[in-house]
Each structure stands twice: as structure tokens, then as C-alpha cells.
């Protein structure tokens, strides 16, 4: 039986797709070319990609300065990208190449072969006391932990324990900036931007690797 497609006067999106299929090479190749040209022209102000890891998919985003954001899936990637657009630059494009190095280092970290990250970071999303706290966190060695109180003392504000907790909870670069190594004084986990399961998984990884 023949099924002559009728052309309606107005097209819905699905009719467009069915009646006017995109020719080969379709969008994937064109996109790759666009990303390359945009990058060459210095127009990709925030490049991002996702990466599958043992703690779930991560979103990695970088400016020309360096890695600006690592996000867990529970933070909602769309919301994370929207925040990057409004706080850093709306020129946000999925452009994985700029994240190659960060992806490799994270993969090495998750296989237990990397104990320190050696990546240029862009602290554009951190300010004030929070930034101060986040900058000292990489001093906590791989496999060891500190309490919120100890970090407060380390930054010279021994009574700002709660503010240290907030600084850890709002860390824009989790895992790379190891806020997961900060626990409550009694050894309880406290909170974690990636969820407590992720915090436990990271601490276990570092203890056993």
C-alpha cells in the first residue's frame, strides 16, 4: 500500500522531521566544525562536557583560564549551565576538547593512580571567605581528613566553623578541590554537594588506593 505523505499547511516539529529529513552529514559533523571555528575565534567562553565516573556523571566546565566548575548530576546540569551563563558568560558551548586534560586527571584519580590534581583553575565562582576556605582545601593530603573546625583555625577564623561548612557546601570545584576531606569534629560525614554516598565513595577510594 502506498502512503503518500500529505503536506499540511503548517508544520509541527515532528512533521518537519518526518517530511524534511536532514541530509547527511547531519548535525553532528556540522556541530564539531562550529565548535572548532568558535574556539579558534576565541568565542567559547565556557566550554563543557560530561564525564562518567564511579560517583555518577560529572559536568566539567572550563574558561580560557582553567577549570571553573565540576558538578554532580544531582545539582541538575541544566541549572548548573544556566548559572554559568549568568555568572561567567552566556557563551557556553559543549566543547569537550578543552576538558581533555581535566577528564584524564579525573579518570586517573578514580582508578587510584592520581593523588593530586595538576590543573589550572578559574576561581570566578568563588568570592570572599568561601574562596579563602576553598583555596586551603587542597592542602589536605590525599587519604587524610580534617574537621570543619580545623579548617576554620587554618584560615585564621577559628569561630567561623559554620561558614567553613557553607564554603565546602558551595565549592564549585568538588573532587578537584577536596571538600570531601572535611568532616565533622566527631568524625561524622557532615554534608556533601555530591550526596553522602559520593563523599563516602571518595573517602573509601582514597583510603584503599
Amino acid at each position: 500500500m502506498t502512503d503518500t505523505p500529505s503536506l499540511p499547511e503548517h508544520l509541527t516539529t515532528s512533521e518537519r522531521e518526518a517530511l524534511f529529513p536532514l541530509p547527511d552529514p547531519a548535525l553532528a559533523g556540522l556541530r564539531a566544525r562550529l565548535v572548532q571555528q568558535a574556539d579558534d575565534a576565541g568565542l567559547v567562553e565556557v566550554a563543557y562536557r560530561t564525564l562518567d565516573t564511579p560517583v555518577g556523571p560529572l559536568l566539567l566546565a572550563a574558561t580560557a583560564q582553567g577549570l571553573v566548575r565540576v558538578a554532580f548530576e544531582r545539582e541538575d546540569f541544566d541549572a548548573v549551565l544556566a548559572a554559568l551563563a549568568s555568572r561567567v558568560s552566556p557563551r557556553v558551548l559543549e566543547a569537550p576538547r578543552r576538558l581533555d586534560e581535566a577528564a584524564v586527571e579525573l579518570e586517573e584519580y578514580f582508578t587510584g593512580t592520581r593523588r593530586r590534581f595538576d590543573l589550572p583553575l578559574d576561581r570566578a565562582l568563588s568570592t570572599g571567605f568561601r574562596e579563602k576556605v576553598q583555596r586551603v582545601l587542597p592542602r589536605i593530603d590525599y587519604g587524610s581528613t580534617r574537621s570543619y573546625k580545623e579548617i576554620a583555625e587554618l584560615v585564621g577564623s577559628p569561630r567561623a566553623v559554620r561558614a567553613v561548612g557553607t564554603a565546602c557546601a558551595t565549592n564549585p570545584l568538588p573532587i578537584v578541590v577536596p571538600c570531601h576531606r572535611v568532616l565533622r569534629t566527631d568524625g561524622a560525614l557532615g554534608g556533601y554537594v555530591g550526596g553522602l554516598d559520593a563523599k563516602t565513595a571518595l573517602l573509601t577510594l582514597e583510603r584503599t588506593a
Binding site: M1, D3, L30, S86, L93
Partner: protein, 164 residues
């Protein structure tokens, strides 16, 4: 715009490519126009007003980029007695470009009206502003184009006699 540019590529990339294919034929020219449209959008992105009708804006840019591509092609055309074998820029008749072959066969005004109004979603008046003539003339050209495409679909089914 304060929203991520990426969403514009994902949401409107296919529509803009259909418009470029209808205007220039599927192939390298349409791909160039598509890429130049989205590069222009990326350049202007932070300055675009939040209430911009993005699809319409992109389709209008695609129109200008298609003209650029056509002009560039004409400028690089050198008269010669020696006609080399050349790949078709309006799609390959041997390849199954399906509907695009039928679109390419339309008279120019019908083809452009179908591209900008029917595929690009621009109102008749805005399409007329791009391709000239009155909104009413564009409405007729678009309707005639669709009718011709319908006929070529039907004819294709008759001659091939196969179910799709």
C-alpha cells in the same frame, strides 16, 4: 541573552539547516551558511535581547549568510572553455536526497517562500521583507510550492510504486 548559547544550537540547529538546505541545496554551501549563522549568533549572543524570537532571528541571519555564500561562489567562478567535472552544489541527483531534490526543482520564489515561511516559520510579511514582493505574493508562492511538492511526492509514489 543570559541563557547558555548551547541551547540555541540544540533547539534551532535543525530548523536552520533545513532552511539552508532549501535555499542552497543540501551540500557544502548549506553547511557553510549554517556554520556562519551560528558563529554570528555566538558573536552577538551576549547582546541579544532576552525577548528575541530566536528562531526568526536565526532564519533572518541564515538568509544573509546564504546570500554571502552565493556571492562568494559567484566571485570564485572563473569563465573557462574547459568545463571540469564538478560536484553538484544542489545535492547529488544520484544520491537519495528525497524531498530536497524536489525542493531544488521548485521555481526560485516558491523555493525561497517554502524555505523561509514553511520551514523557517517566518510570517508571510517577514518572508516578503527578505525575498521581495508582497506578503500576499509570498503566501501564493509558498502555497504553490507546497502544492508542487505534494505532486512530486505523489508522482514519486506512482512511479516507484513501493510503500514507504
Amino acid at each position: 541573552m543570559k541563557t547558555p548559547y548551547e541551547t540555541a544550537v540544540q533547539r534551532h540547529g535543525p530548523t536552520v539547516l533545513r532552511v539552508c538546505c532549501a535555499v542552497l541545496g543540501p551540500g557544502p554551501d548549506a553547511e557553510d551558511a549554517w556554520a556562519e549563522t551560528f558563529l554570528a549568533a555566538l558573536t552577538s549572543w551576549p547582546d541579544l535581547a532576552e525577548d528575541t524570537n530566536l528562531e526568526a532571528w536565526l532564519v533572518r541571519v541564515a538568509h544573509r549568510k546564504a546570500i554571502d555564500v552565493t556571492r562568494r561562489r559567484a566571485r570564485h567562478a572563473v569563465p573557462t572553455d574547459d568545463l571540469p567535472e564538478q560536484a553538484s552544489r544542489r545535492g547529488n541527483p544520484g544520491r537519495d536526497d528525497g524531498v530536497w531534490t524536489a525542493v531544488a526543482a521548485l521555481p526560485e520564489r516558491q523555493r525561497l517562500a517554502v524555505a523561509y515561511h514553511y520551514l523557517g516559520g517566518l510570517p508571510h510579511a517577514e518572508t516578503a521583507a527578505l525575498i521581495g514582493g508582497s506578503a500576499e505574493a509570498v503566501r501564493r508562492a509558498s502555497a504553490d510550492g507546497i502544492r508542487a511538492l505534494r505532486r512530486s511526492f505523489a508522482a514519486g509514489d506512482d512511479t516507484e510504486g513501493a510503500a514507504r
